[in-house]
């Protein structure tokens, strides 16, 4: 078990390094090869050559690539110092650079926005897990019934309808039409009620999409598991049907669902762009959308790295949970 854990951790660390290199490559090398001057996009087109040269020095754009990669890494893990153009700025770890537009450090921007996204993702995950798994299990048990068919049609709708459609629709009905909710984001620190009220529609909208997927997977897995020999054995022991399903079948059904959950949560923490922009939530997704619009490279790089990190972390957690659930994993 310990070796398994260490191996997973080690693999995650290696993966992290690879991701950072790839991100660096995509954002700093590809533009260079394409002939785009990053320093230019920092200072603006009308800037004087001295300023451009200063920025170039600061960012180390003239240095050899290995030195640039090293500085980039160093910035993330230990902080770095930008020198050039007559002044020196220290950027403490984790340093993702400075926004081209607001000239703010990227990291605080990310940490400001992160709780919003995390709240959105976790809240929605709880919702969709409960709804999706329950609907899936019921469907599997009442195969071919009206409930099953109905649930699967709704699930199909959930999977195929885009977030901005369901989001807008829910806003139109519940916030503007019925006026039940005030669809404004309020930070959690300010007021729990306000935060909850502002989050409830995004949660439902996001959960609807994912619950649909989870219901389908749960149904399929549950049906397969119910055909397993060990389920028959459980029944042959004289167990009640509730125990057979709730204990023996559920534990096996959770394995693939957990895998999905890890991936989905990881991806969502990196920013639910559509949901956040539909509901105007100041999360990471919004941040990256704005950054793309403004060609604000450091912010994009920062969010990309945070997303990768989140996926990596979520996968690590899933791997560990996996080993807890399935004893066979511990050995191999």
């Amino acid at each position: 078990m310990l070796a398994y854990l260490i191996r997973r951790l080690f693999a995650a660390a290696v993966m992290l390094v690879v991701i950072i290199m790839v991100v660096f490559g995509i954002f700093f090398l590809v533009p260079k090869w394409a002939g785009v001057d990053i320093a230019l996009s920092f200072v603006g087109k009308q800037a004087d050559p001295a300023a451009i040269e200063g920025v170039r020095q600061k960012l180390g754009l003239g240095d050899p690539i290995y030195a640039q990669v090293w500085e980039f890494f160093k910035g993330i893990f230990a902080g770095r110092t930008y020198t050039g153009g007559g002044d020196t700025i220290h950027c403490s770890a984790p340093c993702f650079g400075y926004s081209f537009r607001s000239e703010q450090a990227v990291w605080p921007v990310l940490t400001d926005r992160f709780p919003v996204t995390l709240g959105l993702a976790l809240g929605a995950a709880v919702l969709w897990l409960v709804l999706g798994v329950a609907a899936g299990v019921l469907s599997a048990l009442k195969r071919g019934s009206l409930w099953d068919r109905g649930a699967m049609v709704v699930a199909l709708a959930g999977v195929s309808l885009p977030i901005y459609f369901t989001g807008m629709l829910s806003l139109a009905i519940f916030a503007y039409g019925l006026n039940w909710i005030d669809a404004q984001y309020v930070p959690l620190e300010d007021s729990f009620g306000g935060w909850f009220g502002g989050m409830i529609l995004p949660w439902i909208t996001l959960a609807f999409l994912y619950a649909a997927m989870y219901a389908r997977i749960t149904r399929a897995t549950m049906m397969e598991i119910l055909g397993e020999d060990y389920i028959r054995t459980a029944r042959a022991k004289g167990l009640k049907e509730q125990t057979v399903i709730g204990k023996h079948a559920m534990r096996s059904t959770m394995t693939p669902i957990l895998t999905m959950l890890g991936m989905d949560l990881g991806a969502l923490i990196g920013g639910a762009i559509l949901t956040e922009s539909t509901f105007n939530l100041p999360g990471l997704g919004r941040a990256v959308l704005d950054a793309i619009r403004n060609q604000d490279l450091p912010i994009i790089v920062g969010v990309t790295l945070i997303t990768s990190l989140a996926v990596l972390f979520a996968n690590l957690v899933v791997d560990i949970l996996y080993a807890v659930i399935d004893p066979r994993v511990r050995l191999s």
């Binding site: 195969r143 020999d229 028959r232 459980a234 022991k237 096996s252």
Partner: protein, 365 residues
């Protein structure tokens, strides 16, 4: 279906309104049908037999002959896992120790499962839950039927593991199924099924997934345990060697029905059904001189949706044309007594069958 229930009603013993169970287990005119998209699958179509405590019945047949479904029917598991509309249909009577199971309260039958009647399955790896330890699974089986704490149940589990010959049972009890070898797993499965001292044990192909030398160990174990516990045992298998080792009585199934039933010795030495002859002739035997050629049964097993009319075996039977008026293709033969406690369902006359067996079949085996 209606037509069949008419003809199927008179298999072997008289059935219907005579609830007089004289045997420990008595199955009367059991039918298990599964509705599917392609039609009604008549897996078991009118099966009757009795079994006493301390005795072993061997049910022999090929895949799709209905032998496994019979065992599930007795256990009340024929509908298990069938959620939705198309449930298996079951009819007939199953008397276990004076209780008729098909008309009994399902929850009562559930309480009998695992306690009065238990089952061993073919593949112990897939029949044990991969996420729970062997101990947890045996403890669970014991505590459903006994109101004891976990410690007591665990002691019982260790004791059972020891009884079925698992070394270091107090350590192995905490192992997961995948940490056991195939033979050990089947031993654990047997320990689990016997933990409540059931009076009826159904073993469905208990050794098919095992190696020969392990099979010998398990057969030995089943025999010993039966002597010790005195339970009634049903062994379901396709292997005539296994039934010969274990069974007192043999029931040969074909196309969902019994074609021959009798004491093991009779079925092996004086078989009275062409299908039984076919099984004996198809099988290379280590205990005999090398046969020049095997005598296979031509064709394939019947579809259970469109069972051939008349005798289900008629398309494969080399003697189908012997009886007059094409009866083999039109009339379904009923089980008829051919010797003491020995029945066969065949249109050939007793004399014809005796002659064919002694002159044509037996010398070639």
């Amino acid at each position: 279906m209606t037509e069949l229930s008419k003809t199927g009603a008179a298999v072997g013993e008289p059935t219907g309104a005579s609830p007089a169970p004289t045997s420990f287990l008595e199955v009367r005119d059991l039918k298990v049908h599964f509705p599917t998209d392609d039609g009604l699958v008549k897996s078991v179509d009118g099966l009757s037999f009795q079994l006493e405590k301390g005795k072993t019945l061997g049910i022999v047949g090929e895949s799709g002959s209905g032998k496994s479904v019979t065992s599930l029917g007795i256990m009340g598991l024929h509908t298990a896992g069938q959620y939705g509309k198309r449930k298996a249909q079951i009819s007939g009577e199953i008397w276990l120790d004076g209780t008729e199971l098909l008309s009994a309260d399902p929850d009562h039958v559930r309480k009998l499962r695992g306690r009065e009647m238990a089952m061993i399955f073919q593949d112990p790896l897939s029949a044990l839950h991969p996420y729970y330890t062997i101990g947890q699974q045996i403890v669970e089986a014991y505590r459903i039927h006994h109101d004891v704490d976990k410690k007591t149940a665990r002691r019982r589990a260790v004791e059972m593991l020891d009884r079925v010959g698992i070394p270091q049972p107090d350590k192995r009890v905490d192992n997961y199924p995948h940490e056991f070898s195939g033979g050990m797993r089947q031993r654990a499965m047997i320990a689990m099924s016997l933990v409540n001292n059931p009076e009826l044990l159904i073993a469905d192909e208990p050794t098919t997934a095992l190696d020969v030398t392990v099979q010998a160990q398990i057969l030995d174990l089943i025999r010993d345990l039966q002597k010790e516990f005195g339970s009634a045992v049903i062994v379901i298998t396709h292997d005539l060697g296994v039934v010969a080792e274990l069974a007192d009585d043999i029931l040969v199934m074909y196309g969902g029905r019994c074609v021959e039933r009798g004491p093991a010795e009779k079925v092996f030495y004086e078989p009275r059904h062409p299908y039984t002859w076919g099984l004996l002739g198809s099988m290379p035997r280590l205990d005999r001189e090398q046969q020049e050629r095997l005598i296979p049964v031509k064709g394939s097993p019947p579809s259970l949706i469109n069972v051939p009319s008349g005798c289900a075996f008629n398309p494969r039977c080399p003697y189908a044309d012997l009886p007059k008026d094409d009866v083999t293709r039109t009339v379904r033969p009923e089980l008829a007594e051919v010797g003491s406690r020995h029945w066969a369902a065949c249109h050939l006359s007793k004399e014809q069958r005796e002659r064919i067996w002694t002159e044509e079949i037996a010398p070639k085996l």
